[in-house]
Symmetry: C2
Subunit: 209 residues, 2 copies
Amino acid sequence: MKREKPIRILIADDHYIVRIGLVALVNTEPDMEVIAEAADGAQAVEFFGQFQPDLVLMDSRMPMKNGVEAVREIRKKNPAARVLMLTAYDGDHDITRALAAGAQGYVLKNSTGDKLIPAIRAVAAGQKWLPQEVAGRLASRKSFEQLTPREIQVLNEMAKGLANKEIADALKITEYTAKDHLKSIMAKLRVADRTEAVTVAIQRGIIQL
Amino acid sequence: MKREKPIRILIADDHYIVRIGLVALVNTEPDMEVIAEAADGAQAVEFFGQFQPDLVLMDSRMPMKNGVEAVREIRKKNPAARVLMLTAYDGDHDITRALAAGAQGYVLKNSTGDKLIPAIRAVAAGQKWLPQEVAGRLASRKSFEQLTPREIQVLNEMAKGLANKEIADALKITEYTAKDHLKSIMAKLRVADRTEAVTVAIQRGIIQL
DNA sequence: AAAATCATCCCTCTTTCGAGGGAGATATAA
DNA sequence: TTATATCTCCCTCGAAAGAGGGATGATTTT
């Protein structure tokens, strides 16, 4: 079970301080080493191709290209890529999408080192890794009803303060259709009005501001 | 200008990884040392009394007691306390409130080390420290129009998806008054409707979800 | 003492929301 | 092929929302 070569890790996080923390944490382990640091999603994709790390430690929320998209792109070019997602919030949407995009594991950012290090070892070894609370949620209530891409577009327009007619114009559909999307959004999220729909969507990671 | 005693620092952040990063960063400087780490606002207040650090590096968003409240409490007991706030978002509201509560400086979390270290030295030396972009904003457009406490309460109820009548009941006022508050909220934030009012308020740090 | 700010209440009126129906087209899965 | 899901369009109607006025009492500031 002893590996002669250390696990070569690429870190991707837009916060400098978090990157320092991850480097410091990883470097306390003799069998791991950080070989590169990316500050956004696009850079993560670029550096993956360049350094071919054994594992990517990736923040789910980043500028330029978010973590989920970055994972998808990396896995498309390199299906064997191992990715462990890091996130501050545990919105279901982010988690399911990250896993669907090809991430093997998920760790909450407020985890202590003794949770993160085993996760890195597990994913690097090809295993899945999910926090028990998240795994439980996904299994039990079989996650929330999924919004369609179009509904998410409508949500984003709503968050800007557009009226139904304006949303319709923006998306080149009729007001009827915009209202229909709104109806199904509210039904799926089980909320009372558009305002709550937006706040819930933000909490679940469905949209970002 | 050489100090014989290092700057004794208390770190307060709810994310373990960020704490590690801050410790690693600070410890590269010979004239600084981290003497304690708090994981929430209440602990920060407690540790301040216990360790009497020269400076507190405090996250503005924390569980139990947020950064702004913690600063206020610390400064009430110890008016000479030096606090440098750290934040991920640069919402005006957070910044002005932190400064009003007695923080001497403000640093964005995505700052690199060469920005954070000078900030620590400046605040420890009793100077103010604001990022140029923030200082510029506060000076130029003399900050945004301030919402009253009551208006913020209304905003919070709106974010939950309550109708005007429900907000009125929750706050024991008439629907007329609730609508009046909503009117002035929308005017001050210059938004089109309640949904945008909520999203803008979230972005500015006026309310949290 | 006068001015501003805050919180409250009131009324009208037009526009928008949201609920509740129905329906067709396409594409994919079973 | 029959579902199932997504996206689209349509209609009605009552209930909210939001704009526009006016007004009062209590504080605080000037």
